[in-house]
């Protein structure tokens, strides 16, 4: 004990490490761990059989497919277009650039229900955009995906942007003088530097999409087996005063998303190591 403490003290650069660590642990416990453990405790009132029954009915399984599928696809699209948006914001100058920059944060600030109602109105078959499309967006799984893309965009842009700003342009110039094409420069020089940030942005957008309720509920259509998201299943279990069943589904969601986030984090660590070797 004393040994580790002296070891830590020797290695820490900042003063007050003990106090800061204690504070961080207490704070995280109060804000994150205690509420989460309440979910697990409620679930623990179920037997294993009841747990399986609550979390694996066809309706619940269909909702997992929709929620995880749409969230992954939305995060993927955001990774692609978020990168382009960040690139444009960092590398180019154009009129009203600050305004565009501020626009990116709007999905953060907007109450999610307002976003949901607005998106539904725009994409409904009599809406501004929906009326021009030959297929239906609002009230289908496609609508769910549209809403999740909307709320996830700022995560990618805001994690990639600062990294991109720090990329040393001399590296790119050096690549160019060595005869690299623009694409080679991007793929071999810029992208490896960006990829950890891009992965982080992807993970954040994905995690946010999983739990999203307000913006999705209006556009989803909420048809069982088709367009019912997992958070709605949880709400409808609560509506029957089935607290344990609701938390059971939540625990499954937490478990899967934690595993996925852990995988993404390891991928990120791997990318960083590889980048270090380069």
């Amino acid at each position: 004990m004393i040994f580790t403490r002296t070891l830590l003290r020797r290695h820490s650069v900042l003063p007050g490490f003990d106090l800061a660590l204690g504070f961080a642990l207490l704070y995280l416990s109060l804000i994150v761990l205690v509420p989460l453990s309440a979910a697990f405790l409620k679930t623990a009132t179920l037997s294993w059989g009841q747990f399986l029954e609550a979390t694996t009915t066809p309706r619940v399984l269909a909702s997992y497919r929709l929620t995880f599928g749409a969230s992954l696809l939305a995060a993927a699209l955001n990774a692609l277009f978020g990168l382009i948006v960040a690139w444009v914001l960092v590398r180019y100058d154009f009129p009203f650039k600050r305004l565009v920059d501020a626009l990116v944060d709007l999905p953060f600030a907007l109450p999610t229900a307002v976003a949901g109602i607005a998106l539904t109105a725009i994409w409904a078959q009599n809406g501004w955009l929906g009326q021009w499309l030959p297929f239906q967006v609002s009230f289908t799984p496609l609508g769910v995906w549209v809403a999740l893309v909307f709320i996830g965009l700022p995560f990618v842009v805001r994690t990639v942007q600062p990294v991109l700003e720090d990329v040393n342009q001399e590296l790119e110039e050096a690549a160019a003088t060595l005869g690299a094409t623009r694409w080679q420069t991007f793929a071999k020089v810029v992208f490896p530097i960006l990829s950890p940030a891009l992965l982080t942005g992807f993970a954040l957008a994905f995690a946010r999409a999983l739990g999203e309720y307000g913006s999705v509920i209006f556009i989803a259509g909420n048809m069982p087996m088709i367009s019912e998201i997992t958070p709605l299943i949880i709400i409808s279990k609560l509506e029957q005063y089935d607290y344990a069943g609701a938390t059971a589904v939540a625990v499954v969601m937490l478990g899967v998303s934690f595993a996925l986030l852990l995988a993404i984090n390891s991928l990120q660590a791997w990318a960083r190591r590889r980048q270090g070797m380069l």
Binding site: A54, T57, G127, F218, G221, N222, M223, L238, D242
Partner: protein, 343 residues
Amino acid sequence: MTASPPSSVRTVARHLLAVAALSLSFALPVQARDITLLNVSYDPTRELYVDFNRAFAAHWKARTGDSVTVKQSHGGSGKQARSVIDGLEADVVTLALAYDIDELAERAKLIPADWQKRLKHNSSPYTSTIVFLVRKGNPKGIRDWDDLVKPGVSVITPNPKTSGGARWNYLAAWGYALKKTGSEAKARNFVGALLKNVPVLDSGARGATTTFVERGIGDVLLAWENEALLALKELGPEKFDIVAPSLSILAEPPVTVIDKVVDKRGTRAVAQAYLEYLYSPEGQTIAAENYYRPIDPAVAAKFAKQYPKVTLFTIEDVFGGWTKAQKTHFADGGTFDQVFTRK
């Protein structure tokens, strides 16, 4: 210039003042109290209770001299009940379903199990029913429940899993089919066919109204009668018509005092009077003005023109009460899940 009065005069004046103040305080009645009540209710009663609270405050002031401020909380009926179970200190609850109030007795032991017998008429001071809102001129010719299962008719209703109003819709359709065919199996097929015609299940009643009215989706909206009449008033009768089915359900939104809370806060008398005032001619008139059906025959007669003639059955008659209906139809694996997951 003016010399101050001799000190003896000042003392006398001060005494006089003191005596005057003392006698004044005796002449006044006991200090009037300021009381606050919290009424936890469901979504579509917001306007009703704004009017009613004002009337009750005046009534209580005239009777006792005390000022009552009633705070209102609105939301989905089930969500509101859960808040009270989890500790929201409601003096009274006025919810959409007896089932939600039953849970306050069962789960949190806040009220006795026989709460519904404490006030007249199953503790429901006003009632409503389920009617159809259709587009102007009724292009699809919808007259009764049978028209809702025809192919090509699109029906909007919220999700019974998350909306109390939607449960009334579902049970109204089920009760109609059951009374008409006399067979449970046929009633299930009827409701299954009806749900096949539903393109969107909103999570709440107001959301379903928005989908129908603003997004232009659906040929018919299943709605509380008071919501339909309100929509007609707000949006103009030139856009929509109300169609009354031949048979529908008697929706009885119940009210009760929360014993544990009023005993703790010392507000039982006023909370009790608040709910009883709902049954008075004034309370009944306010309910009728907000398109609920009054149970007082005299007030009902006065507003009779407002309500279409519908034969009504009760949930007690057809389904054996809320707890049973909830278990058979809306619990996980119940008939609602069966007709939807069977593909």
